[in-house]
Symmetry: D3
Subunit: 301 residues, 6 copies
């Protein structure tokens, strides 16, 4: 084929792909002046949050105790400014999605207020993350010190993203919390929905393949291993066949529960306080306090 | 040790590692002027494809319906040019590998033709991806809108890479398709071989740990959960003990099959239409239409 | 709220987060002049090592057999210099952690010596990695050539990082080896502790979700599939309730063992030579030579 | 000195430099939400303008005549969006500077209108730049083709920036035009004030050191050499000793004037049509039509 | 104006600017597969050349005498590869420009040969640059050592670019040499045409504003100061009014000439051996051996 | 020529260029562990200094008066750390150059002390730069406000670099000050030697081509125009023909002197208080207080 034929093929593809029939439902129409959810900004938001919460471990590592407030100050200011933009992007996305939108400036004011609210909760987020670091340390004989946990353990990255995203979720910010937890999912293989509620001293060992659903409720001092699913069993649909949103459909894990690797716990059941769930099993019914559930013996073949 | 000793250690290591005995089988000898498979170019190819297929969600997000054709046009032109280079790199790699190579310019001409062919299939790729987005939306009560699916759900990234790679695989391009699906594997934990055949309205929930083998055939409206393996049970070797290539050895899933988390389905068996496979089980025999297979009850210990 | 109120919220958060009570245990205090563990440097260290070990596949791909020593030479020199810095950072981190530190220059001298020692072991690392490439090739009918294995297969990246990290671990470098294996964990979903001992001709198919614990001993010609856990069953604590470090607590796999997907093998048990462990099962007792262990039949429901 | 002393020195310097007395007049106080003049955005604006005006020479060079409109389209859209932001930044800067500011949204609307107005003038800017390219080509025996002029000759970069900046200046945008011409000044050594008026077929040979003042009026077919100054002789001050702004104080050069290297022409004088000014001389009085002015003979010493 | 009006303005501008009438002479039509002159590649070419010629001063500075050949080797290989591409781009540009072009592969072969030829001249280029460094050092009392000259003095950058470009010019490579000298012009304010012939021990003090024309011939041990012009006085045109190319029209400076700042020497005249030209004067007639020419005394006013 | 021939040419060039005879005087041998003068670090040092001295104009522009100390604090800490490294690099370079070197740690301690000393002088540097901004503003009718001066005027960049470099020069740091002023030279065309002494309220209009020599002494309220040279007339050599270093050889300009464009003032002469030097003239003798010197009238030709 001659170059002219190739040009013809390309321009034909351009025309087809620019046809509004072709991109229906797959196209995000942008209104001038509106901020956009930005993966790059959100990555920076996560970086800044990690640098603020674990000073010296993430971000500029040369800080010392005399100059720490300069660093925290600069990071919080940048975080505030990026959050305003991304929260506004989330709000616009949400409004647009619901089909009722004539805001613009109100959105900006709301976003600013929510960003400030989020900033004011950072000390509390640090307080609970400190308990998660402890739990990881005391739960792993291979760990040599808190610093190793913070630097290397994927659970810290996943749970930090989750705790940040969960606060934004509580402030009713659409879309943004989910993108933040999916960033940790991609980085660590741990998929925690921002809607889940998780107590203090929470840890996950290794972590790849863990799934924690949107309506999970997890108590304090809970430990999961890699590959654990806390999922939904099935979900009711409305008359049009659409899944009904917002119904509790994921498990409740009470305090001090341990779930071993690759176990699957499905549905709105309760795993009682102190219970232990063995690896590679499928649990769809509630488990009483203190119980131990394991796989039936495998056989030699 | 003095600096001179260290220099000696370094130059000794250089000599050993530059010895042709040492790098046999691990060295890719480059012929001047030939393009190379490039991770960076392939990442850009995936970015461009996503930006073309889901305009406004990936790539330059400020586009609107009046100017969409400028963006699609520029992206397709860049995509075409990068594809020619990478397809040629794949062809050279393949030829070299088979030990019979005296092409060069023919390679470039062939690569150009294949790249144009690929471009012309993009509208069809978008059409089927639209059904995958729908399937993900209707299959997850936590999803609030199509936009959230496209922005956040790892399945969309994995399946987009797969559908792109599968077209290149159908065009007999060596190596490149596999690199593209491995990029999605690293990003999402979902490992789909470009050779697999997958129908429309396909979705995977959460996805980490999913494996779909090279000779799988998957019908329409199939849904998988995280950790599902569609693998080979064993494989025959030839007289030299090398595995025989190209024999169908992975499962067939008919329409409307659901496979729950961490299930393992192995071998050239058929899971019949509408069947449901429970989580954490190992299936090595065919399953009839409409059947439900689950794990034996676990026991309290 | 007016801008002034927001400034007040921000500065209040800065003050709280800069308070030494708030960051206890989460703060890494830096001493002037000391190098820091750097994710970016360690990524470069891994890149350089891959480029040296698999010339032409990673790093500058245009090398040929006449000029290979220039490339290896430049890469080894940069590697040496980065390793000195990162090993010193690891040593300082370790010393600090143990609370006894007045070194500085001794650290630098030790780091230089260890880096040179590491460099001198690179030819041996390449030799064993060549067997891993072979094992991957002969174990997968979908593989078309060695080059495809090296370019695309996640196992190569994970095992390369592990073999590098294991050498640094043997040289008693703190922290750094673990960061290197976690980088591969994030990239491939394969989590191998640098302390594990692994023989030649080792391979992992697909790999996502694999966990290999710190005290594992793995023979030659062993093959794992995705989702396999080689973990600890439980661990004794000392009188203060801290887990006791350094006790062998992970499995021993003898030569020629195969473990299928999602199997979980826990505790200091031995899987005898040539044994096969089926998928999705939980093994906590030793398995004799040549045995085949599979899941109990699942049932239709 | 001990580390503690150094910390003291640093924090003392921080305090002094953060004292409002210290930074009076040197500090740009930022109001939240307002865009800022950004060197990086303005560099991109210049890049985009050059790519639009000289397609294939600047920017993406792989365009051809079939696909040129895609490229121009995408570039104009990005240019429009960046211009809105930077024009708004200029307007805010100007208002702030005059001490009367309660705008915000009006600024944005005005900026959008001015940016659109600027875009609509681009075809005219290209038309006149085409004459400048011609003038450079016919004026230099060393030039081999138009393409060489556009690629290499600093005059094209300087005059393009000037013609862009001059249009923004005519639209009364503060600050931004000056930054744009200073960018060319740094790149080429040619300093043209955006307020100057310059006819078509204008060229400057070599160019380093050329200065063209704010109230210059230059006719058509004028040629300058390196080091030429068209400056002000002196300027009247008001009662407070401040220079009075806006008085014509730079030369008028009529059509077809040539000024040789390092000549200095000062004050509101007129160089008549077709006059030639020799190099290294100082001219402070008007020169009649067609005259040739040269330096007095130098002497041997 | 509403958004729709703005879209109309933008698309109208796109249409006008994509009209072939509008871009005639200003558009570089690209043929698929052909390399393009690339500012970025040429910057890298200059960087590599400087690193090769002055090892340890430019480029990777950590080299020592044991490992220098690794660095030179890697740099030369990259330089060779980039030169082939850029020389080919220059050849295509030249051919296209002359309107007679049906080459393609011949171009590539020629480019490779010329690049190899250039590489083989690098030792000679270094030899002469060593004399320029000496001349700069012995000519400036402010210089403290050779290293300071190489690191800081703009003349070294300008003359290095010139000597590289001059070799490419001698090999009849179109366009590329000129871009290389213009890069130094922008960086240093020194504008040397690649066609000029310059002897050894050449230096320029400060340098901003120096211009050396295409047909200049400069002997050995010549020193110029800032602002010196060695230009053409006028040039004959052919019957169509186009300047006639290739006629000698710039000065000849014999050995040991010194020209002080801002002097302008024009036309094909000869400045005799050992002559001194004073600052700020205009010289258009030959100057005898050993003469000293200065400005007429200025007067008090 | 075949590829093998090219390889031969390349390796021959590598050998010649790696020969120690070839690079004598042009090679900077690096000692392991020593910092190197780094253009990139020095650019960052200049950026940070500008951001500290003119907050909100350079660097992070979103600062306001409540949060300014966070930004100044973080910038000063980074500046301190980079300065230590670069000052040490300068000290090592100087020692090496003088041929007497067995320092290492003393160097680091000295560098730290000098860096702290420099930091403590920043408030004074800002105080004097504020007078330079004023002088530029009151000296140019085209300037609309202080902000425009700081943002756009090249003199501010050149004089800031000079005042920084001059302090380092006073602290006897070798090499580094000169690199810093040459960076401004390249950016603005203004070449000020760090050794020059310059009073307050100093300004340069336009600036391209200005040269201020190492032993100049310039009073307060002095104004220069573009192209002005304050240079040396000639310099005595010692018995070996080397220029004698450190002899005063550049002009003294007393308070309130104005020098117009392209004037050249040479030698250790004194331009008396309030004198005015016209453009394009060459001055080699002292000028009395209040005098006005201009070029002899040019003539019509």
């Amino acid at each position: 084929m001659s170059p002219i034929d190739y040009t013809h093929i390309l321009t034909k593809a351009v025309d087809e792909l620019s046809d509004s029939q072709s991109y229906r439902g797959l196209f995000h129409q942008h209104r001038e002046g509106e901020p956009l959810p930005s993966g790059k900004s959100l990555e920076r938001i996560v970086e800044l949050s990690r640098a603020i919460l674990f000073p010296g471990y993430f971000g500029n590592s040369t800080i010392n105790s005399q100059t720490i407030n300069y660093h925290i100050g600069v990071n919080i200011e940048e975080l505030f400014s990026l959050l305003i933009e991304q929260i506004q992007a989330g709000l616009c996305f949400g409004v647009e999605n619901s089909g009722q939108c004539d805001c613009q400036s109100p959105c900006r004011a709301t976003a600013t207020q929510l960003a400030a609210e989020f900033i004011s909760r950072l000390p509390e987020i640090r307080r609970i993350l400190a308990t998660d670091v402890e739990a990881a340390y005391y739960g792993d004989p291979a760990a040599t010190c808190f610093g190793e946990i913070i630097c290397c353990y994927p659970v810290i990255r996943a749970v930090t993203n989750y705790r940040i995203a969960h606060e934004l979720h509580r402030l009713n910010v659409p879309l943004i919390p989910r993108i933040i937890t999916e960033m940790a999912h991609s980085e660590t293989g741990i998929d925690i929905h921002p809607g889940a509620q998780i107590g203090h001293h929470f840890t996950i060992d290794h972590g790849t393949g863990v799934v924690i659903g949107a309506t999970c409720i997890i108590g304090n001092h809970v430990k999961l291993y890699q590959g654990v699913t806390l999922g939904a069993k099935s979900f009711p649909c409305d008359e049009q066949g659409n899944p009904i949103k917002g119904i509790p459909r994921h498990p409740i894990l009470e305090d001090n529960v341990i779930v071993y690797s690759n176990a699957t716990i499905l549905g709105r059941i309760t795993i009682g306080e102190g219970a232990t769930i063995g690896g590679n099993i499928w649990v769809t019914e509630s488990v009483p306090t203190g119980a131990r559930i394991v796989q039936r013996k495998s056989k030699e073949n």
